[in-house]
Every structure is written in structure tokens, then in C-alpha cells.
């Protein structure tokens, strides 16, 4: 699992590459836990190369969501593969998180 951060003005884009499981979730957790992430207005998660997510990966996003909301930082997922979106959908997380098809829509969200 590789996480690449691309900051630009008030937006931070995190590109996820690989499989997010109980072994690799710590990499993403470390990135989302950084205090300066709350200085951005938006954190966009580019999921184009995220090929797998388990409950440990979902748990990382869930555990930071309230902190982001409290700081008025919007968390938006985009470019999600169908099989990964299906995992969010099974738990009903698609209704609680902002997931849009493309980068253009993520920037507009």
C-alpha cells in the first residue's frame, strides 16, 4: 500500500495505490492523523489504484471522519473501483461518506 500526498492550495489529494488491509492500514492512518491535514478545506482520496479494502481500511476513514467534520474539512472519495465501492455499499457507508465518480466532481463537491 502506497499513499502519495499532493497538496494544492486548500486541497490535499491522497493517491492510494495497492491493497488496504489490517497490515497496511497503519500507513494511511499515519497520513490522516497528521495535525496539519486539518488546515486544508478538502481532502480528496483518489481510489483509482486502490484495488482492495477490508474493514481495517474502512475503520481508518471512519475513525478520522468526525475529527475532519469538526474542523470543517471535507473528505471526498473519487475514482473508486466498482468492487471497492461495493464494500462501502454493503455496510451502508456510501450513504455516510461523500463518494463521487471523478476528480472533476470531487473538486466541485
Amino acid at each position: 500500500m502506497k499513499v502519495t500526498a499532493q497538496p494544492s492550495a486548500d486541497t490535499l489529494t491522497l493517491l492510494l495505490d495497492g491493497e488496504l488491509d489490517a497490515s497496511s492500514a497503519i500507513v494511511l492512518d499515519t497520513e490522516l492523523a497528521k495535525p496539519d491535514i486539518l488546515e486544508y478545506r478538502k481532502v480528496l482520496i483518489d481510489c483509482a489504484k486502490l484495488s482492495y479494502i477490508s474493514s481495517a481500511g474502512l475503520g481508518v476513514f471512519i475513525s478520522h471522519l468526525q475529527r475532519f467534520q469538526d474542523a470543517n474539512v471535507k473528505l471526498v472519495f473519487f475514482n473508486m473501483q466498482e468492487k471497492v465501492f461495493n464494500v462501502f455499499e454493503i455496510l451502508g457507508l456510501d450513504a455516510l461518506m461523500t463518494i463521487v465518480p471523478s476528480a472533476t466532481e470531487a473538486e466541485a463537491a
Binding site: D21, Y52, A56, I62, H64, Q66, K83, I90, L91, L96
Partner: protein, 137 residues
């Protein structure tokens, strides 16, 4: 068709488990989503055994056995640790509450129960065994 795998109780074994399941199912030309659902259910149970039942003790091991009979997949995951590990009865997680609390865990078995047709944990001698099954159309 039956296939088996033995892994050490380490989080780093999870990739090996997923590759094993994908490889086993690859000849069936199943939809990506179906394969991912089976892979995810097995990954969740194995992760639970590794982390909660064995405390990530790499000297302990788990055995996986996959059997596909026509369209019916049966999975057996046997834990050889010293602790009997029987997850609490399934409850649907309140995700809004999880978000408020900033909770990281507690969704794995809910996923497994929604992904598979049948989920059973039982003891065999001093060990815990999980049996999962799913009809693959």
C-alpha cells in the same frame, strides 16, 4: 476441487491468503465483485484469528481449506492457537455511532455475515474452526 494453505499468525500473511483465494477462484470466470466478496470474507476471519485469537504470535499457524463443488464454495479456517475464539453473536454496527466515537474496529464480522451465505464458528478438540459457505451462481 480442493486446495489448502497454512499460514503463520502474522498480519503480513493476509496478502498471501488473498492471493491464494483469488488464484483458486480464477479458473471460474466469476465477476470481480463476487471474487472480491469471497476474498474479503476470508481475509476478515483470518485477520480476526491472527490478531484477536493469537495476538499476532508468528509461531502459531492457521490452516485454510477451500472446496468448490459445482457452484458451492466451502471454506474452512482452522486455528491451532491455545485460545478458543468464538466471536460474539452478530449485531449490525451503528455506523453513525462509530463515526462519532472515532472507532476503528467492529465491522469485520458484520461484513462476513453479509457477504457469505453461512458463517459458523465451532470447536474441534481444543481448537476453533470457522466454516464459511457461499453459492456462486
Amino acid at each position: 476441487m480442493e486446495s489448502t494453505l497454512r499460514i503463520a499468525c502474522s498480519r503480513s500473511s493476509l496478502q498471501q491468503v488473498r492471493d491464494f483465494v483469488r488464484s483458486y477462484l480464477s479458473s471460474r470466470q466469476l465477476p470481480d465483485i463476487t471474487v472480491n466478496q469471497v476474498v474479503l470474507a476470508i481475509d476478515e476471519v483470518v485477520a480476526n484469528f491472527i490478531i484477536h485469537a493469537n495476538g499476532e504470535n508468528e509461531s502459531q499457524f492457521l490452516d485454510l481449506q477451500l472446496t468448490l463443488d459445482k457452484h458451492d464454495l466451502n471454506v474452512e479456517i482452522a486455528d491451532y492457537g491455545d485460545t478458543i475464539f468464538l466471536p460474539a453473536p452478530h449485531q449490525s454496527p451503528d455506523l453513525r455511532d462509530y463515526i462519532r466515537q472515532g472507532r476503528k474496529g467492529g465491522m469485520g464480522m458484520a461484513l462476513v455475515n453479509r457477504l457469505m451465505d453461512r458463517v459458523e464458528f465451532f470447536t474441534r478438540g481444543n481448537h476453533t474452526v470457522c466454516h464459511l459457505s457461499k453459492h456462486l451462481a
